[in-house]
Subunit: 381 residues, 2 copies
């Protein structure tokens, strides 16, 4: 018997209810029945995105939705400001480069974030920048950027704010309209508790002007075609039917729990993980840790790659290692999506077992105990 | 109780075995476990594509895979020959236009096909054409083009042959390597019996030279990045995990039945549908009818849109209507994927019932009887 636990920052566990909805006999996408599902899904997405903007579902991964955003907003030679500071943040400038965009890079140390003041200064020096590309939670470092404050800097300016919320949406506060984010990019496989394969983009009216102006080549990812279909509760081209059905079911679950409580739950799980790591004498990597993923420095003398491998292969508990320059230096615990206290306890306990095996010194149960202290605050309803 | 039957030319019914495989708890994509699935899937895809070329799985619909092909093979200003003659064939030139490709259009009447001679003549007049875009089965008209003969025309030439086999693969003969097709584009939701959301492209070494030369912008769809991942039994970016697992299960089913028998089964179902239509006095639309979808002219005095609607809404049997200029003029019966004799009998019977209701004159049971005559030839093993 091998029972497994998935505590990675995406893909995240898919609730049985979502799996079962997707396992029903497939229906055709050009039918009133499927259009009714899309209509409900579009409304539910607006609820989770906290926006009245349309949210386009694209059959692709999050990266596809990022490319769609670049291609729809910018033309070759246009200027854009890209905030760096992680593997996924860097993807913005990589895609911009492919599209011939003139990029102004704001380099941020991995694990740290950009300050709104730096954004303001960069904008002053680059008044012709059409877009600022940002990341709410950088999945590779577990850091959360203050997007609300950055949005404040852009208020009243022509520059459009784009935020990658792929790992944050549905797990952390993100007030698209209230903060003023023009394009929010998300994916199905993180806080939205659905298998990967759907990218999501919300697009404001301010951003729409850029969409109309862009002459970058795009067909499959063309927001103008997507919007026409969206307005008829449809998708252009063949919908990823089962993923849409699954996503809608997951969104129903979020509405039933209420977004407010979903976010509180994520916060509590994150606080517990952080408390556990500190109790084990481990250092958090991110200066401003996100509520959806906790990046932890691998202690000296421990092989970080091996740690993750043993947890997964010997105990069936999947967490994530470090990526790129952080390989072997950090590990990352996802507390994201369909997770409760005991998923977290399982992750911490397995970490304790394997750290102990590998020779790291600490009192067994200390991490779990610290998390329990947080969890005992849960109200019984 | 409403039991439904899906007889559309995509999406096609997903076998319970595939649905169940996809409903298992999700696994992470960067694991030995998932790489083993991808490795098997890649081998199984080569079997069905009848190729030793790599087959890249892209998380997108078939249209995304078509765009990927254009962007990877051609640069702005390059010349390409596009065979028209249906809603999906026309997509090639639409995408080429977006990418600034200089297109030479071969116009074919809908329902008819291009002759190899016309291809040869067009190539003579356009020796600098880098690509010829073709369609094996045009889903909108149900016609099958002689791709083997077209490939023969291109043999020894520099021009690369691209074939849209989205609705044909796994239902009709397609010998990628033996015929000499450089790029074959397919999708998960047709003969491959999996929900939509995966596009597939096989790419020959001859085509690869164009991939290296192309300067069209592409990131998510970049074959160069896809190939690097492919060689490590991986995918770039987050895989559409459940769809890959489902597709691999469906491919296993095809291997178990053997591709040869799968194609024979489709042929027999198609012959039965054609015999039934003729027995009902109905005219086939396509001059060379494909084995995966049968397009039938709506008889005079019958409302074709209503026919499809009543079959679906009153009887739960989904067939497809006509698209674009053929709306209301034809209907299309898919005999594609996970289908046996009695799926076809159900479709024909429902058609008879609704045609009778709508006032079309014929002897009830005639169509079903004609199909039965074909099916009685099945060998009992």
């Amino acid at each position: 018997m091998k029972k497994t636990s998935l505590l990675t920052p995406g893909p995240t566990p898919v609730p049985p209810r979502v799996l079962l909805a997707m396992a029903a006999p497939i229906i055709h996408h050009r039918t009133p029945q499927f259009r009714a599902i899309l209509k409900e899904m579009y409304e539910n997405l607006q609820y989770v995105f906290q926006t009245s903007n349309p949210v386009f579902p694209l059959a692709c991964s999050g990266t596809g939705a990022m490319e769609a955003t670049v291609a729809n907003l910018l033309s070759p030679g246009d200027k854009a400001i890209c905030v760096q500071g992680g593997k996924f943040a860097e993807r913005w400038s990589e895609i911009c480069k492919v599209y011939g965009i003139n990029t102004v890079l704001i380099d941020v140390e991995w694990g740290d974030i950009v300050s709104p003041g730096v954004i303001a200064k960069t904008l002053e020096e680059n008044e012709d920048a059409k877009v600022v590309f940002t990341t709410l939670c950088e999945t590779s470092t577990g850091v959360v950027t203050d997007i609300a404050a950055i949005a404040q800097v852009l208020k009243g300016k022509d520059t459009v704010l784009v935020t990658d919320a792929i790992s944050a949406l549905g797990g952390m506060e993100l007030q698209t309209d209230k903060w003023g984010i023009d394009v929010v990019v998300a994916g199905s496989q993180k806080g939205l508790m659905t298998p990967p394969g759907l990218g999501l983009c919300s697009v404001s009216e301010k951003a729409w002007k850029l969409v109309e102006d862009s002459n970058s080549p795009r067909y499959y990812f063309d927001f103008r075609i997507a919007r026409k279909a969206y307005d008829k509760s449809n998708t252009p081209y063949t919908s990823a039917i089962t993923l849409c059905i699954g996503l809608n079911e997951a969104l129903r679950m979020i509405r039933e729990e209420t977004l407010e409580k979903v976010l509180q739950r994520h916060e509590q799980l994150a606080v517990a993980v952080r408390a556990a790591m500190q109790a084990l004498g481990l250092k958090l990597f991110a200066k401003y840790p996100a509520n959806v993923v906790t990046a932890v420095c691998v202690p000296e003398g421990i092989d970080g790659v091996e740690l993750v491998k043993v947890m997964r292969d010997a105990y069936g508990v999947s967490i994530a290692g470090g990526q790129a320059q952080l390989e072997g230096k950090i590990f990352r615990i996802g507390q994201l999506g369909f997770m409760n206290e005991f998923d977290i306890i399982t992750g911490i306990s397995c970490l304790e077992i394997v750290l102990k095996k590998m020779g790291y010194k600490f009192e067994a149960g200390k991490g779990v105990g610290a998390a329990e202290e947080i969890f005992k605050e849960v109200c019984v309803e």
